[in-house]
Symmetry: C2
DNA sequence: ACCTGAACACCGTTCAAGT
DNA sequence: ACCTGAACACCGTTCAAGT
């Protein structure tokens, strides 16, 4: 067997694109998009930043690759025979969870909506929606509305979680926002002051699913 | 009257915060967020970039200010007595148009959802939704779902318009995306291939309003 | 109070040169 | 084929110094 020793700090395997993408996901998860830098990546992989750019042309390409990998890892296909509403809710929750653990993911999906990961999501939603009986000519609108809700609300949730910092004083944060709303809306018979209270103690996941249900209920009207 | 002449290139009035924000909106509209630079701004306002930062602490603050100004300028209050569904659709269209002419606006609203401009939007939507008879305990979910749809879809539309460049070969772009979908979905009895066609010739504004209507229809179920 | 411009610590991207 | 590291043209932010 080969017993050649290598100088410390020299990687034993050649750099692979997959390796780079995995490391990028790690940095994105830990410290967000601003922290993803070719230099930071090179440091972590013990190489030069020029080497990375041999495998990955530029930062945009790196982000697309990371997005595709992260989403398709968490998107499961519901078992055949699952009732359509259940299937939609299951896929929605998968995406919600994926974006929750990769807070940068939603923003990326939004920025490049034609990427393969997104096509997969559309397919997963379109199948049960068609099964619900939504007529073919309304299918595009229906799926588009659902996908926008799923990615949008999940994103917003993840961004909020990030905004309140790693210390995670959720209640303090929501209190501050609610208070601000109440102050801005004060005076003129505003309705928003009453909503501030509901903001204080809503559950993000329930709220998200309730929104999915509203859209599904709306679709029932157009379904046969 | 004063006839003092000034050396060319010297601004006659002191720099104001409002002036800076207006110039920032101009740059954002013309060339996007990446082009908004303290240096570019300074060049246009004929001053040094240090001067700007006396008025505006940092770039984040500048973006928040530009967002608030741009949105509140286009958000009209529907006349009293407007039927609730009409009012919701009118506000939605206002936002759609605002984001269409300020493509960076949606991203910013998403990033800082507690900002005053957003509170105003919530108020404008909450009022007619309450009037529709949605019970108080469901109001937060209802408004949240509508606002997410409005900002999200309008944003997506603006981003797509930007992606296909100033030359604006809309059909070519949609064709390319549709073709890609068809290719990715080929083979396994996929449903998405059929949607590709609808993507090719949908109208963005109609699509957007159809989504609003689906949500409104869903809300009718919970309304008394 | 308001503005200037140098300085600092970063970026992404390119590219000649090595192995 | 794959990697290195210098170089380039930028950033945002800070800050001593001016008026």
């Amino acid at each position: 067997m080969s017993t050649t020793t290598r100088p410390a700090g020299i990687r034993s395997a050649a750099l692979s694109r997959e390796q780079i993408v995995d490391a990028a996901i790690g940095i994105l998860d830990a410290n967000g998009e601003r922290a993803l830098t070719f230099r930071a990546l090179a440091l972590q992989l013990q190489t030069g930043h020029g080497a990375l750019q041999w495998h990955v042309r530029n930062k945009a390409e790196l982000l697309v690759a990371a997005t595709a990998t992260a989403l398709s890892r968490s998107l499961r296909t519901p078992a055949g025979g699952t009732p359509p509403r259940t299937a939609v809710r299951a896929v929605a929750l998968d995406v919600f969870t994926a974006i929750e653990s990769h807070p940068w993911l939603g923003t990326q999906l939004f920025a490049t909506p034609w990427q393969p990961a997104m096509v997969q999501l559309w397919e997963q939603i379109a199948r049960p929606v068609a099964e619900m009986g939504v007529p073919a000519e309304s299918l595009f609108t229906a799926v588009s509305t659902l996908v926008n809700h799923i990615v949008g609300v999940a994103s917003q949730n993840a961004l909020n979680a990030q905004l309140l910092g790693a210390d995670g004083d959720r209640e303090g944060f929501l209190d501050a926002v609610a208070e601000r709303w109440e102050r801005l809306a004060a005076g003129e018979g505003s309705i928003i002051g009453r909503l501030a209270g509901q903001m204080r103690d809503h559950d993000d996941r329930e709220e998200f699913l309730a929104g999915v249900d509203i859209i599904l209920a709306g679709l029932d009207r157009t379904a046969r």
